[in-house]
């Protein structure tokens, strides 16, 4: 089976409830960030977070989603991960998705690192046996050592990122969806993570990664999709994107 993600004319409206639409609307004029806001009925503001997204991601793609804060990266990730349903347009996905959107999501801060590995594995519908057989590999890749016996609430963001990434990539997934938390790891870890993603793609998998880290994009990704105001501003290979950025800066 070939893996593919295809978005056709996807729009996504956020409905923000119980806010004064009025004051929100006036605030938007001062806002340097964000999607387009328009008025919906009553006390509900609608935010057009994504509009007319056409995107085809094929086997072997490591695609980076870039753009400034509020440009719609995480929203697009959540649409791809099936968490948000498009308001309009079509989304088709072939393949089993593993999404790691928020740092610490699905982890229990009171439980130890080891128990959280089980918990994350459980959420991926893996049997205890399968998790146990991979736990050494996860421990080694995360580089957390004895910290795995401590509760996760004692971890730094970087340590949590290491643990989550190790779990996310140790078990087979057709499509891996990662938000920008990856850059919470230090340089050595980002290097290691990049190598591992490379390997995943060699096994004909898809990686979708939202990030601000241009270095990471160049090291890890072969395609780039730049979002601006909820629209695709650039879509192409990483080399073309670097040239596009250079031209934009000039």
């Amino acid at each position: 089976m070939t893996h593919q993600i295809k978005l056709t004319n996807v729009d996504l409206d956020y409905y923000v409830y119980s806010l004064r639409s009025q004051s929100l609307r006036s605030a938007v004029f001062n806002l340097a960030v964000g999607g387009r806001m328009y008025k919906a009925a009553g006390d509900v503001a609608a935010v057009r977070a994504l509009s007319e997204i056409n995107l085809e991601i094929n086997e072997g793609d490591r695609i980076a989603l870039v753009g400034h804060n509020g440009s719609g990266k995480t929203t697009l990730l959540k649409v791809i991960a099936g968490i948000y349903h498009p308001t309009r347009g079509e989304l088709s996905i072939d393949g089993d998705i593993t999404s790691m959107i928020a740092i610490g999501a699905g982890m229990d801060p009171e439980a130890t690192g080891l128990r959280n590995i089980h918990k994350l594995g459980m959420m991926r519908r893996l049997s205890r046996k399968v998790i146990d057989s991979r736990i050494d590999a996860i421990a080694e890749f995360s580089g957390l050592g004895d910290f795995l016996h401590l509760p996760v609430r004692t971890y730094s963001a970087g340590m949590q990122a290491r643990l989550m990434f190790a779990v996310a990539t140790e078990f087979d997934a057709d499509i891996l969806v990662l938000d920008e938390w990856l850059s919470a790891g230090d340089a050595a870890f980002v290097q290691k993570a990049g190598e591992r993603m490379q390997r995943m793609v060699e096994e004909a998998k898809i990686v979708v990664l939202a990030t601000h880290d241009e270095d990471l994009v160049q090291r890890v990704c072969n395609r780039v999709c730049e979002l601006s105001g909820g629209r695709i501003a650039f879509l192409g290979s990483t080399e073309d994107w670097v040239a596009y950025r250079a031209a934009a800066a000039a």
Binding site: Y14, H85, A105, E110, M122, R125
Partner: protein, 263 residues
């Protein structure tokens, strides 16, 4: 699967297929609630023990009821209420409690409702063991009637459907969420848990006769104290579960895609 109604049924079907996952996750969430405590999940059983113990004094002392006769009735009623009533109060948090998970992983909406029912069932089972242990110690143990099994199954179905009916509006309108705990308190007092229908003045008996919750409590209490529930309790319970099912499916069809934006 373009029609919303078909999508709602598909959502339920997907959640049924995920049974191993919500089963494990429910046990895990129950266990983690009692992390770092020594008694662990047995704290849930303590709830029943303490209330039963306090009632023994108050009902016996204040009202002079011959407690030896009514005590098992009252405690069985409390046990039944923990599944019929308390779950209503907990249902408001079905989606709010799992907001983190809902925003990071694709799972059917029904999954969270089943998760809620699983936790309710675990809680009920723990308290049931405490109930039997207590009755054995007091020498009032009555062998449960076999209808306990279908009765619990039917009430659990009701817990699921009511879960949708309460959780969906509670997520959208947070006032509903706060209101629910007071509504449940009110419902507790109008349900014959530590009083009986016979004690109520005939003028107000309709409060019991037309209350779906009173019939559900009776449906569980009768087999717990060793006899079969009345046919009228079965009829009422089946009827209300059917009605709840229709409302729940309608809500799911209408708002399935929206709930995640309300978190």
């Amino acid at each position: 699967m373009s029609s919303p109604l078909m999508a709602a049924f598909k959502d339920v079907g997907d959640a049924i297929r995920l049974a191993p996952l919500w089963w494990r996750l429910g046990l895990d969430q129950t266990a983690s609630r009692f992390q770092r405590s020594i008694l662990g999940p047995f704290w849930m059983a303590c709830n029943l023990l303490v209330v039963a113990f306090a009632l023994a004094f108050i009902v016996g002392g204040l009202m002079g009821v011959n407690l030896r006769e009514s005590y098992p009735q009252v405690v069985a009623g409390l046990l039944a209420w923990s599944l019929v009533g308390t779950t209503i109060a907990e249902a408001q948090a079905i989606f709010l409690y799992n907001a983190g998970l809902m925003q990071s992983q694709r799972l059917p909406l029904t999954f969270y409702v089943f998760l809620h029912a699983q936790k309710a069932a675990t809680n009920f089972l723990t308290q049931l063991i405490a109930f039997w242990a207590m009755m054995l110690v007091l020498g009032r143990f009555a062998a449960p009637h076999w209808t306990l099994l279908p009765a619990v199954a039917l009430v659990l179905l009701s817990v699921c459907f009511l879960g949708f009916i309460i959780a969906i509006p509670s997520t959208r309108f947070r006032d509903v969420a706060y209101m629910m705990s007071y509504v449940v308190q009110l419902l507790f007092y109008v349900t014959p848990v530590f009083w009986t229908r016979a004690q109520m003045s005939p003028k107000y008996r309709w409060v019991v006769d037309y209350s779906p919750l009173a019939h559900q409590v009776e449906l569980l209490r009768a087999p717990l104290t060793g006899h079969a529930p009345a046919a009228i309790d079965w009829l009422w319970s089946l009827g209300t579960v059917g009605a709840f099912a229709l409302i729940a499916i309608a809500l799911l069809a209408l708002f399935r895609k929206r709930v995640v934006f309300w978190l």
